[in-house]
Symmetry: C2
Subunit: 180 residues, 2 copies
Amino acid sequence: MSFRRKLDDMATGREPLPGTAHALTVAPETAAALKLWVVLSRAQAAVSAHVSADVARHGLTLTEFGILEALYHRGAMLLGEVQRRILVSSGGITFLVDRLVAKGLVERQACPSDRRARYAALTDEGSALLEQIFPAHAAVIERVVGALDQAEQEEMTAMLKRLGHGAAAADITATELSNA
Amino acid sequence: MSFRRKLDDMATGREPLPGTAHALTVAPETAAALKLWVVLSRAQAAVSAHVSADVARHGLTLTEFGILEALYHRGAMLLGEVQRRILVSSGGITFLVDRLVAKGLVERQACPSDRRARYAALTDEGSALLEQIFPAHAAVIERVVGALDQAEQEEMTAMLKRLGHGAAAADITATELSNA
DNA sequence: TAACTATATCTTAGCACTGAGAAAGCGTGC
DNA sequence: GCACGCTTTCTCAGTGCTAAGATATAGTTA
């Protein structure tokens, strides 16, 4: 209670700032998990900042670049496939493809076997742009993650895969039970 | 060029879809770096989705929760300190604190020694809310990262720290040189 | 003291994306 | 062959944040 703390503060002569520091005691395994979550987010943000700045030099968002890369490597894909691959909402993929079409990098094509569906495909310009910027892009990433040597990168990749799959599989039922 | 490919396609009888698959050949160490970047982002997104959904049940953003947590553990902080700690823009911290003030969880306080500066501090309500939701929050994180055991989590934390610091230290000069 | 530079917060405009729902088309069961 | 549910894409309003610049205050130098 605030009242209680205010009384204490008056008694001890401390400043009556309401926001004094607290500590929450947690089990060591909980602390390890919390710490992992924090450093995972920070590391991702730090790497992302560089990669994002790199593609921004070419007027692209990370997400847009992801679409170009996917289309380059896999060829024309249905919008829904692209959506699931780069993890955006259905509204998002429409918007993003619109923008790439406006930039002349991607075009939509009808799907002959399903008239609801549409393909997204790189234009020649899009494909040329990707080829042009990819090497420097890869070099930036290689340097940004260079604090780990190749063996460590591979080890970390393996662990992150397990972590990611485990997290994706952790379902809502379990979440709600744990909070019951 | 498109024209060339169209001719090829006509010649071979393939569909004239412009977006056929390509492969970019890269050195193994480059491939390892690219792969790491992808799985890092995916793992972070997968974990984040759960954590974010958890705090959303209490009407909070991940960023808002981060502010509450920081203020709880460290006590009142200058807006600028909070900003650097949770990595948002200067406009962002103003906006976020405004929102938390509107929710009654945080209050602003004048800084006696610098009239430009302002403290953000938890209200009693904010501090009570954090205490109420923190245990379940920690449990969610613990389960979501549970694909790794505690020793693996600690190992990964150590590696991610190195990765993050290395990435943060990789400066723009180097980036630009590599693209020259 | 006055001018300058630096810093802290706030304002404003805008961007990237989400989420809910609409529209169109597909396929299945009757 | 037709109604019904399921997909696929698109629309639109809203959200959470950024970036650039404005304002106010602090410290520093002449």
